[in-house]
Each structure stands twice: as C-alpha cells, then as structure tokens.
Symmetry: C2
Subunit: 146 residues, 2 copies
DNA sequence: ACCTTATTGAGACATGGTATCAATAGATGT
DNA sequence: ACATCTATTGATACCATGTCTCAATAAGGT
C-alpha cells in the first residue's frame, strides 16, 4: 500500500531549491513520512524520529509537518476521529482509501474524481478548485482474512 | 444554502424515541445547527446557545455535539485548517461544497459519487462502506461579486 | 405534587499544538 | 580548513480545544 512511488530525494532537492537549509531532522522526517504504510500524526512522527535521532524536539517536528504540508509534500487525512494524520501527496488528484480494519491507506485511480468534479461544477455553478475524497471500508487483504 | 430541508422537530422526536430526555439545551442546540448557513464548531455553537440561554455550560454543548454526531444528525466538515465544524447530515450520500471565500456550505447532487464509489470498488478490490467528499472553491454568489 | 434519575453547569484536568528564545549547525566567503 | 552569519533547532512556557468529575437541577413517570 501507499504503492505509488514517493521519492524522498525529490523532497530534499525541492527544499534546497526553495532556499531552505537541508538538515538532518528534515532528512529523518521526510524519510519517515515517505516510507510509512500508515497515515502518521505529528506525535507519531516525533516518536519515530527519536528512535534514530533521540534529541529531536517536539516543536521541531510540528514545524516540519507544517512546512511539508505547506510545500505540498504531505496532506492531511480526514478520518472519523480527527484529521491530524498525514500521508504523502500525489502529484495528481487524490482519492484515498482508508481501511477501517488495518488502518492502512491506499491511493486509488482518481480519473473518476476528475470527471465528477467537472460534472458537479457545471451542475452547481460553483467554481471548484480543490477536492478531498476519502473512502472507508475493508481493504482487499482484510476481506480475505475475515 | 444548506438548502435541503432539515427538520429540527424530527431530531427532537428521534431523541425522545431513543429514550433520551428532551431538554431545553437540546432544543436550543438542535435549532442552532439545523438553521445555520455555515458549518459550526462546538465553541461557536456554545456562543450561539448562550445568546438565548446564557447559563448554558460548555461541557454540555460538547456533549450534545457528540450525541448529535453519534446519532447521525450532524457530521464533521473537513476543511483546510481542521475538522472541528459540523453540518446537518443528509439522509442520502453527501457531497459537500465549501466556499473558500464566504465560508458557506452547499450540498450538491450526490448521484455521481454513488457511481464513482461503485466503480472504484470494482477497480480496487476494496469493500467501500463510507465516503467523505468535499469540494472547495468559489460559490456562484462569490464569483458574481468578484 | 413527588420521586427517581438523566442531564446539566462549573471548574479542574488532559491533550494537541504554538510561541519564545538561547543554543546549534548549515551554508557561504576567505 | 576556518570564521562568520543566520536559519533552524530544542527546551520549556504557554494557549486552545476538548474531556472528566460531581454536586445541583429539571424531565418524566407515578
């Protein structure tokens, strides 16, 4: 899952080009977010970061999460019990599926969402510039093991 | 906006049938949520409640919001800066549009979403039981006044 | 009108997230 | 390689949002 290829190198390169300093905390956190199978909260990312870099500060992690989000690298996942978890952003439109059983996230083909948006835009008269679609249920794996 | 008919009477009746006592706080809050053009946070609902019922407690409002949500009368709206606001739930599938300019919410025709879900279910192999779709942009009114 | 008990209000508490500021460590020029 | 400059960091104080406790209140059945 989270199968679409996410490349941490690209994120670091983008930070560099953006005029930001490339630091070890950033490398650590980017690596954590880019490789997690699950959506992560800032707190979880902090825990993960301290495993390889014990002195990492809490505020720093919150700041990095904010930066990564504002740069568009990660994006908030809206679950039932809140929206404090993040997944890597895809370049294209995103349709995210969350398994209510195992908690893992999966990106689905978003072509149908593009069509839906076009249609709704015409039907409603609103100008649609962004979307968040999340689907919940039981993933293919969890259905097998049930 | 929020044009689909929401009936506060039905909510109270449902509470009554559910074995809950029907109280003035409930009436006040249900009225507030059912008639707001905007998604409301618990804090905003508290402010609104105290206008007509000054002694209303904060915890009470949070409890009622939780109850109304668990009974399915209201539902969390997932915006950019958090997900602590609520709108009345529709009986059918929901497709919510939020105007990034005026902040108002609008329910769109959700037929296309039903189709999309069916399609994605087959394509992905996941069993989809719930969805959250939110669209953002400029509403018809705000486009005119721009 | 009375009794029972769910609901409420006040305030203490917990959690998640932000602001401050001195210390640290990237980047750049020498 | 070294010094310098300044963005970034870590520690901690702080704030906001939401939860818990418990005595007081008020629905609803009798």
């Amino acid at each position: 899952m989270l199968s679409k290829s996410i490349n941490p190198e690209d994120w670091l390169a983008a930070l560099d080009e953006g005029g930001f300093r490339v630091t070890t905390v950033q490398e650590t956190l980017i690596d954590i977010f880019a490789h997690s199978e699950y959506p992560l909260s800032a707190e979880q990312a902090w825990d993960a970061a301290r495993q390889s870099r014990p002195k990492t500060g809490r505020a720093t992690v919150y700041r990095m999460v904010e930066k990564l989000e504002s740069l568009g690298f990660i994006r908030r996942v809206h679950g039932y019990q809140g929206c404090s978890h993040f997944v890597p952003t895809l370049p294209e439109l995103m349709m995210l599926f969350i398994c209510l059983d195992c908690g893992r996230a999966d990106y689905l083909d978003s072509q149908p969402l593009g069509d839906l948006i076009q249609h709704s835009e015409h039907a409603s008269g609103h100008h649609i510039t962004d979307s968040r679609l999340q689907l919940f249920g039981a993933c293919a794996d969890c259905q097998q093991n049930a």
